[in-house]
Symmetry: C2
């Protein structure tokens, strides 16, 4: 449905299909994609890469329409410069997308991998194998290159998807969606309904109700978007609403290293979710004043003891609290943090262990920047998002987070009654 949708006037032939119909078809498509072999999936990815390369001019033309639309929004103060800039697709971004697709082709199939194999009895073999999850709803904001990245991750992992991009990028996303659909059709290996683009905010609302067809929602965007989604669906949501990351400076930390790491964690990309928001300093650290001064010289604004320790600045601003000891630091993090990424700077091995074990966050670091919390830096090849969930997948999520498993049991006419009566006995032996 494209009613009440902004920035769609230039798009021809948007099909006027109810999202429930899209979801039903995607679910049917999943029953075909879930067991696709790696070669077939790579064929689609390769066709997408080639088509993107070929259609650069057309992509730039569509992107231009989005940029024109966004320029008005920028002038009206409805979006900021950063959002406007992220919208732009140039040759470099196209090259990155193509490289990303080719890298993904080289990665082993995340699906159909044997996790383990076990003899329940000599003629009864149980295998735990990875499988894709199902139809995944992904909601992302302005950056249109996201569409290709997400679609390709879903294809590689055998999942199907319903993608909702930011309306500012509608023209670019529509062309990307067409390129993906054309590649799927040309490949002749999977149904064209595997990957779908939807447009309106109303679609998000409806998507969240479709737990019959959609198995997972991945929101990639602002805190408010993620919070709204988490509050309005029964479908499992993979993501993080906020990134309240901490650095704890222990008593015996080098001043130079502390300054270097905190500066990196705060200024390298201040609006990133893995940027540090709160600095906790041990009261007996010898360089408290020098550290504050040093950070100010890096243009970091320090707010000591703010009213709200759970506020994400997304800017070069840091909350500061002096703590009595490491236990107080850990308690503070578990109380005010978002379970994202927290780092201790210390030379004390015992304190490092304590911090890593007792901070209840997805990523717990020692003597390095919180900014390392990222799928690419962790070597996952591609990142679906960062999760602060306590179930399924946690921290930076790669292709593995898009899979689950099934159990295959192959017997020779075995019945439970024989084991219940003691006629037969289980082995339970890994093979």
């Amino acid at each position: 449905m494209v009613e009440n949708t902004e920035n769609t006037e230039n798009i021809e032939n948007i099909e006027n299909i109810e999202i429930v119909e899209i979801a039903k078809k995607a679910k049917d498509a999943f029953l075909k994609t879930m067991n696709l072999d790696n070669e077939s999936k790579n064929l689609v990815l390769d066709l997408i890469a080639k088509e993107i390369d070929k259609k650069r001019a057309e992509i730039f033309l569509n992107n231009e329409k989005d940029l024109n639309y966004a320029k008005t929004l920028l002038e009206e103060g409805k979006i900021n410069k950063a959002t406007y800039d992220r919208l732009k697709i140039n040759d470099n971004k196209i090259n990155d997308l193509i490289k990303g697709l080719n890298d993904l082709i080289k990665i082993d199939d995340p699906v159909n991998k044997t996790v383990w194999k076990k003899e329940l009895d000599e003629d009864l073999i149980l295998t735990k194998v990875t499988v894709p999850i199902g139809v995944i709803g992904v909601i992302f904001e302005a950056r249109p290159d996201c569409f290709i990245q997400i679609a390709s991750l879903l294809i590689k992992s055998g999942n199907c998807g319903i993608l909702k991009g930011g309306s500012e990028a509608n023209n670019t996303n529509t062309l990307f969606s067409k390129i993906v659909q054309d590649a799927i059709i040309k490949s002749n290996v999977m149904p064209k309904d595997a990957i779908n683009l939807v447009y309106s905010r109303d679609d998000i609302k409806k998507m969240l109700e479709l737990d019959e067809y959609i198995s997972l929602i991945i929101p990639r965007g602002s805190n408010n978007l993620v919070k709204y989604i988490k509050q309005n669906t029964k479908i499992p949501v993979l993501g993080h609403a906020s990134g309240i990351c901490h650095i704890f400076v222990d008593k015996d930390t080098d001043f130079d290293n502390a300054l270097k790491i905190i500066t990196d964690a705060k200024t390298q990309y201040p609006s990133a979710c893995n940027s540090v928001e709160t600095l906790l300093i041990h009261k007996d650290f010898s360089y408290i004043e020098q550290l504050k001064q040093g950070l100010k010289e890096k243009n970091i604004k320090i707010i000591e003891n703010p009213d709200n320790f759970s506020f994400e600045y997304g800017d070069t601003v840091l909350s500061l609290k002096i703590v009595d000891n490491i236990d107080c630091a850990i308690e503070h993090i578990n109380k005010f943090g978002s379970g994202h990424t927290d780092s201790i700077l210390s030379k004390n091995k015992e304190n490092i262990d304590k911090f890593l074990n007792l901070v209840d966050s997805s990523c717990v670091f020692a003597n390095c920047s919180t900014r390392f919390s990222d799928g690419f830096r962790f070597g996952f090849g591609a990142e679906v998002g960062i999760s602060t969930n306590k179930t399924h997948a946690r921290g930076p999520v790669g292709l593995e987070g898009l899979t689950i498993y099934k159990y295959k049991l192959i017997g020779k006419n075995n019945i439970v009654d024989d084991y219940a009566k003691g006629i037969k006995k289980f082995n339970h032996r890994f093979i």
Copy 2:
């Protein structure tokens, strides 16, 4: 809160605490249990086992109160004989509980296991380790031995719990809860708020809203209970609302084996969730009539082409449908099944592979009974429940399903900027 709660008149000193307070304290307790070593956890389990052994007489006395209460319900037709029977605790059940506890003590710690270790750079080491999830709400029905089983699984896995048992078992559950609490206090290794028993239906309702404190809900009970819970919470739910399991009899199946396996899958324990509900037979199977006759002789009632193929009989009744081919069978299962357990009986290797790969269920079997779908039979030692979820844990869930992971990254003052600028390069090498 114990207002409006049945079968509590014999229980002294039920604390009148709001469930939100219980949940808060349990969350605090979790921050202490999450990193307990195996020895400490085993100490608590051992104390529970010894205390149960010692308090047999007191347990039977409390159980007698429940049985008296339930007898009235039975006479009034409010519960059935099976529920009444399951309520009874005798020496055998106590022995089983003690054996279960001792078996659990022998199992490796599911927590603090290194999943993998990776060098991001030579001085930047990433480790993926298993950790417990948090506070888990478990809602179970009549069988009071469940309390000890669930509490011990939670303790072994470092999680904390809020348990709500069936009101028929309130007296027995209360004593079991006291035994667990006493063991925890005596052990002096974990907070007493780690494991909690709550009583009223109102507590369930409130528990489902406490997503701030509770990370996972596990309902073990009737379809209606599970459906109600899934529909009324944003907390992840691990379980299955129904078990619509299928057996597909392929064209070339031995008559004797088919009869034997279907009989086992339907009659070995008809009310179990892994019992078969629907039989799909290939139209060219040579013994269709003989099979129907054979099953009737086993006192199985066959309903051909019922209006509702998604109905769980929980009795010795089977839906039957003749299908044109294996594709129709797979389509039927993916449409009407509950993603629980489905089995193919066939000598055709290609068809077996097709069935196992294209049926989108947690457990897909070949040439054996659906009744094998069970944590004990799978060799998991203990079973939390069976999940038809598409995320986190699927199929029979053992201790592993009560864990998640965190990432520990230990550096030597590494900053992201060095890698962004190309001064340093990532290794990404498993070690």
